[in-house]
């Protein structure tokens, strides 16, 4: 029985964001969303979620940079990156070294999310 967690979703695709938020809410968790990297950082500072799912390809600031910023702010931040196979090796390795939890690919399934939330959140 999972307790209520706070999840932060960062993705520039609004539709996907809303659907994913709906799904996770349906699991019984609190969900916050952000539309880009900057917004994501500021929301993180506000919300301090248990787990963050962040898309990599975003305008203004990409997921990696946002991740680094968040990690700066909170080294213990738990982040899962959503890769669209745009592997920037260097940044990925850097993220990995800064204890990036995992990376998943789009499109992801409900089960995948559920599993990750149970595991890390």
């Amino acid at each position: 029985m999972s307790d209520k967690k706070t999840i932060l979703l960062v993705d520039d695709d609004v539709d996907l964001l809303e659907n994913t938020a709906f799904m996770i809410k349906g699991m019984g968790h609190d969900v916050f969303t952000a539309g880009d990297g900057e917004e994501g950082i500021s929301k993180y500072k506000d919300v301090r979620p248990n787990l963050t799912f962040m898309d990599i390809r975003m305008p203004k600031m990409d997921g990696y940079d946002a991740f680094f910023k968040i990690k700066q702010f909170d080294p213990n931040a738990k982040v899962v990156l959503i890769t669209a196979y745009n592997q920037d090796e260097k940044k990925y390795l850097k993220a990995k070294s800064m204890s990036l939890l995992d990376s998943i690919a789009k499109p992801y399934s409900f089960e995948t999310l559920e599993g990750l939330i149970q595991k890390y959140a």
């Binding site: 799904m23 745009n86 992801y108 399934s109």
Partner: protein
Amino acid sequence: MQKRHQQTQLKISHLLIISITILFLVYAIHSFLTYDFTLKEAKNIAMLRIQAQANNIVTDLDKSIYDKTADFQSLTKLKQIQSAVIESNQKFDQSSLHEIDPQTEMARDGSKTPFLQDLLENEISDELNNFIAQYKQEYDYDVVNELFVTNQYGANIALASGTSDYLQFDEEWWQITKNNQNYVGSIEFNENYNDYVIAFAYPILDDASNYVGTLRISVSLRLLLHDFLNDADILHLSNKSVILIDQNGNTIFENGKFFPTNTPKEYFNSLTSENGIFESGPSNSIFVSYGKSIGYRDFSGFDWIVVIEQESSVVDEFENLEKNFLLSTLIGIVSAIILGVMLSYFVTNPLAKLSKLTALLGRGNFDAKIQKSKITEINSIIDSFVEMEVSLKKLFETEKRLAEANARIKNERLTAIGELAASMAHDMKNPLGTIRSGMDIIKRNAEIDSKVGEVIQRMDRAVSRMAHQVEDVLNFVRITPLFLKQVSINSIIESAIKSIEIPKTIQVIIEGGNITATCDEKKMEIVFINLILNSVQAIGDNQGRIMIKTKKVNENVVIEIEDSGSGVPQKIISDVFKPLVTTKQKGTGLGLASCKNITEQHGGSIKFQNNPTIFTITIPTDARTK
């Protein structure tokens, strides 16, 4: 095979040497023949000259003898002598012969008997004495040593010279003249005069051409040979020996001596015709020419032979030339060889250098340098060569630049296409994600009856297909570096199986121990997913089996994926790993191409066979070693 293509080859130096040698040999032969000919001609000319001279001399000899004898004979024509003889004949009393004979001898003290005196000092005798005196004056010695006249009875009626018996009728010569013939004696040595003499006797005829008496004259041989001796002297100055030979081969005169030897001339037997020339002596060193006496007018000749000997040293120079000639030919051939070698050096060396340079050119070296040669033609070849080099270099570089530009363009295009495909694929992922999550939500939050549920399932599968194709494109287009990690192959296989919905009708068997390898986990998973998915699709709705065998072979890990499906169709077997090759309407054709890319990126390989269908992947145990 190779022998057929071998042709006889000549080096330039050999060719030159052979040519020049042949040239020299031709020259040598030509000159030899010319000299030979000239030598023969020179000999011939020399011999012909002495031949002509011999002929002339013998003719002159005959003529001079004739002249002299004609002169002697003219005495018989003297009227005084004629009439005196006739008178004597009339007066002659044969009975008193025996008394008179002894009176013809001179007394020891030199006084003469009256009879003798009478003989000596009559009119005819005066004539005769004049005759003798003339000759003596002309030739400065006692040319005539006998001269007397007899009547028809053989009795001496006038005596100018010589001692003679009163009666000559028993003499052979007298007998001949009595027969109205001229007598010509042979050469005899007269001790009194210490000289060789010849006797002549001529009949004296009256007006009616009857024999009335005889005139006998004996003269020195030198008189008759006077002109001959002059000729011989002249010729002697030019190293020619003039020799007079009698009819038996005995030498009458040679080298200023009369009758120098008793042995006949060795070549006497060769003097066969009227005249001729030949070579004689040791090693043919003497030219011999001869002319036989044929007489002159009514002088029938003594059957003598005039021979001229000349040493053939005149042609010695030619023979020396011949020797020099062989020497010069030899020198010529030697210089031919030297010349040939030198010339070939000037030609062969640059050519050899050129051929080396051509080889270098063939290997792509366009900057080879070559020295100028001293030969114009070679230089023009070198110039052309250098031009060619420059052109080729330019051409090559242009081609290279063109190829590079093309490659760059192609690359850029490919990169652009790749980028396009990737961004397109990527941009599809979001909407796909939305749809999938949407379907999920619908499934969980709405009351779905089974029919609608099936609809949603179909939608699900469609999304999966799209997602998969997007993945395929991205996987194919992106060649990202390998993220190497030591992983268990079996774990990758198992997670691959989990990602695919394998129908329950298909049995999956995994064999082989757990092998670990250093490889890119995610990429290898893609490989296995593609292969297993292919197998699943090949088996289709039927019952089937997929067998995955892993094993270690040397430094490699070998994974075999065998399925009981229908296999790869014949027509695409050779292209099966090429991109965009597929048998499925729904396929992108990128699956196997991606597998090939990934395994090869690891330094491994992929292959397949039909019957049964087995795809074999080989990757090194440690991809870092590649």
